[in-house]
């Protein structure tokens, strides 16, 4: 087990390394960070000085090595947006804001939204899918199919706007947007927007994998033992059907983390997604790099968790060394 985690961690580190290398290469293509950082007013001399202090004058490979070692130290440099007013203060306090804390500060908002969305999706989609699978071809089944397909056919930001107009403005049931004081009411609409797609995909997967399971001989055997339909579905089928469901959940959780980019912008939710968008719009490279890094790590951790859940769900996959 420990060895498995170790092995997976090494794989993940390699993946992270590749991603960050790509980010490095990509990042060098977008122009001179120094003059971007300094804006229109700076003099040539100031630009040169900043380039030197950012290490941009060094040969590329040296920059690359420096970039990676800085990552290892958790140092992604300073934001060009936050604390921008301070970049050029001479003297020892001449620091902008380190970006990693800026990103990490946003993490709870994004994570809570993502998990809430997934929770919502599971709570809605699993029963839907199961009931559809119990009566294939029935009206319920067709309704579930259409509804779940509708869930994956929506433009996210459009849905968000519509939900605001309906539930916040017209009906006045929920706040339009914002983080509130972290109150649940504020999270419902964004989480719902975010959950639409996972609900759809999950319901379909649950339905088809449950249908698969229900047609397997062991279900017939359990029925022959005298088990009730509910027991067949929730007692026997669900655990086996859960393997594809888990895979897809991990997948969706990762997607939800990025779907948050759009949703957070619409709802003014202070997560990493909104941060990425503003960082992109002002080309705040260090902030972008750190955000990608943090999201990548989150996704990798999620995938690892999903893999570990196999062990519990699928006795055939043994994780012994």
């Amino acid at each position: 087990m420990a060895q498995y985690i170790l092995k997976r961690s090494v794989q993940s580190l390699i993946l992270l390394f590749v991603i960050m290398s790509a980010v490095f290469v990509g990042g060098r293509q977008i122009g001179d960070p120094a003059s971007l950082m300094l804006g229109g007013q700076a003099t040539e001399e100031q630009v040169r000085q900043l380039r030197r202090s950012l290490g941009l004058e060094a040969p590329l490979w040296e920059q690359y090595v420096g970039f990676l070692t800085n990552i290892i130290r958790g140092d992604f440099g300073e934001s060009m947006r936050y604390g921008y007013a301070h970049t050029m203060t001479t003297g020892p306090e001449a620091q902008g804001q380190a970006v990693l804390p800026l990103v990490l500060e946003r993490l709870p908002a994004t994570l809570s939204l993502a998990f809430l969305a997934i929770l919502l999706a599971v709570a809605i989609a699993v029963p839907l899918g199961c009931f559809a699978a119990m009566r294939p071809g029935s009206a319920i089944d067709r309704a579930v199919t259409v509804v779940s397909l509708a869930g994956v056919s929506l433009v996210q930001f459009w849905l968000g706007l519509m939900l605001i107009l309906i539930f916040a403005v017209q009906l006045g049931w929920l706040p339009t947007s914002g983080y509130g004081s972290g109150g649940l009411a504020y999270a419902i609409l964004p989480a719902l927007t975010l959950a639409a797609r996972p609900i759809g995909r999950l319901a379909q997967i649950v339905r088809s994998s449950m249908l698969d399971e229900l047609s397997k001989p062991y279900i017939a055997a359990a029925r022959a033992k005298g088990a009730s339909e509910m027991r067949l579905v929730f007692g026997h089928g669900l655990k086996n059907a859960a393997i594809p469901i888990m895979t897809m959940l991990g997948d969706e959780l990762a997607n939800v983390m990025t779907g948050a980019i759009v949703v957070e912008v619409v709802f003014g939710w202070p997560g990493i997604g909104a941060l990425v968008v503003s960082a992109l719009s002002i080309r705040d490279l260090p902030l972008i790099e750190a955000s990608i890094f943090v999201i990548a790590i989150m996704v990798i951790l999620i995938n690892l968790a999903v893999d570990l859940s196999y062990k519990y769900l699928n006795p055939k996959v043994r994780l012994h060394a």
């Binding site: 993946l15 590749v18 991603i19 980010v23 990509g26 990042g27 293509q29 977008i30 119990m134 009566r135 294939p136 071809g137 029935s138 009206a139 089944d141 067709r142 199919t145 259409v146 397909l149 509708a150 994956v152 056919s153 929506l154 433009v155 996210q156 930001f157 459009w158 706007l161 519509m162 107009l165 379909q204 249908l211 047609s215 029925r223 009730s228 339909e229 997948d251 990762a254 997607n255 983390m257 990025t258 779907g259 980019i261 759009v262 912008v265 990425v276 968008v277 992109l280 719009s281 972008i288 990608i292 999201i295 990548a296 996704v299 990798i300 995938n303």
Partner: protein, 331 residues
């Protein structure tokens, strides 16, 4: 044993009557299924409509979509403009005819998605096919890459790449190809892997068929239907993704238009001109839903066990438990 067997081979008389009839059912049952399944029929009709009007946008559109006239901006649907022209779906913030924009924008949205699907599909299928068939180191490396890329959320990756190379039609297609090939590669590989072991491929080897022939003539046709089902899904996904990218400013750029761009730009007028956001949003929704329904239907039809369910008009709600309550006939 009586000398004369009734038939030398059973095929001639007994089986064919049944079989031949079976055949006739099969040939027509897709059509029949379609006709009997209104939802899918409507989806299909809608998609045909979208594609036809999109391709023939220049012919169908009542106005030139690029034709602006700020004096007649934000006219609601079903109104006439001062010159007497009629706007079925109203005009936008720059006085362009929304219907015409939808047609031209639809062409762009659908083409981007189709090209993206085609490009990623070709790339992915080729790689997946080779990996699955040859296996070994190549396969291992490819699958590592696929796993790696799959675990990077695609929208983020798309944003980053477009951030570097800039938005626009071709770049978006390029990004789609780069981002989605793994999906096809996975399926193609799995399929190739299973067919590689199958007896008919062995048989093809046994008659001396060279590998390229086996890949193209034997494997590919058999992989077609799951890949097509997937591609249909992907088209809908890419239409939606394009909309999200446009929303974030990295999608299609003016003067081209796309449905996503229309919502994106129209959303600032949501209070005064609901139609600018609602209509393209619904159009995307229906198109994506249509594609999804079609793909779901195709998948169902490809699975003989499920096929009949969709064809029945009267779904029964009985479960296995109540099977016993079926009618009891007296003889």
């Amino acid at each position: 044993m009586p000398g004369a067997d009734p038939q030398e081979n059973g095929h001639d008389t007994a089986a064919p009557s049944g079989e031949e009839r079976l055949e006739r059912v099969r040939a027509s049952h897709f059509v029949a299924a379609l006709v009997r399944d209104p939802i899918t029929l409507i989806s299909l009709s809608w998609l045909v409509l979208v594609v036809v009007t999109g391709l023939g946008a220049a012919f169908f559109a009542p106005y030139d979509a690029a034709d602006q006239d700020i004096a007649r901006r934000l006219l609601p649907p079903l109104t006439h403009n001062p010159d007497g022209g009629f706007h079925l779906l109203g005009t936008d913030q720059n006085g362009r005819d929304v219907l015409s924009m939808l047609l031209f924008g639809g062409r762009v949205s659908v083409t981007v998605a189709l090209l993206g699907t085609l490009a990623s599909g070709l790339l992915g299928v080729t790689i997946g096919l080779l990996a699955g068939y040859y296996g070994g180191r190549f396969d291992a490396v490819v699958m590592r890459i696929v796993d790696g890329m799959m675990s990077i959320p695609s929208l983020l990756l798309a944003l980053f790449v477009l951030f570097i190379i800039g938005g626009g039609f071709l770049n978006v297609v390029l990004v789609f190809a780069l981002l989605r090939w793994m999906i096809y590669a996975r399926i193609a590989r799995a399929q190739a892997l299973s067919y590689r072991e199958s007896a008919f491929v062995d048989a093809a080897h046994a008659i001396g068929a060279p590998t390229p022939r086996i890949l193209v003539r034997h494997l590919l046709p058999n992989m077609a239907s799951p890949l097509l089902v997937l591609a249909t899904l992907e088209v809908s996904y890419l239409i939606l993704t394009e909309a999200s990218l446009s929303f974030l400013g990295f999608g299609i750029q003016r003067p081209l238009s796309s449905w996503g761009l229309m919502i994106t730009q129209g959303r600032d007028y949501i209070g005064e001109a609901w139609w600018l956001v609602t209509i393209p949003g619904l159009i995307i929704f229906f198109t994506a839903l249509g594609l999804n329904l079609l793909s779901s239907w195709a998948r169902t039809m490809a699975d003989p066990a499920q096929r009949w369910r969709w064809m029945k008009n009267k779904p029964s709600s009985r479960t296995a438990d109540s099977a016993g309550t079926a009618t009891r006939s007296t003889s």
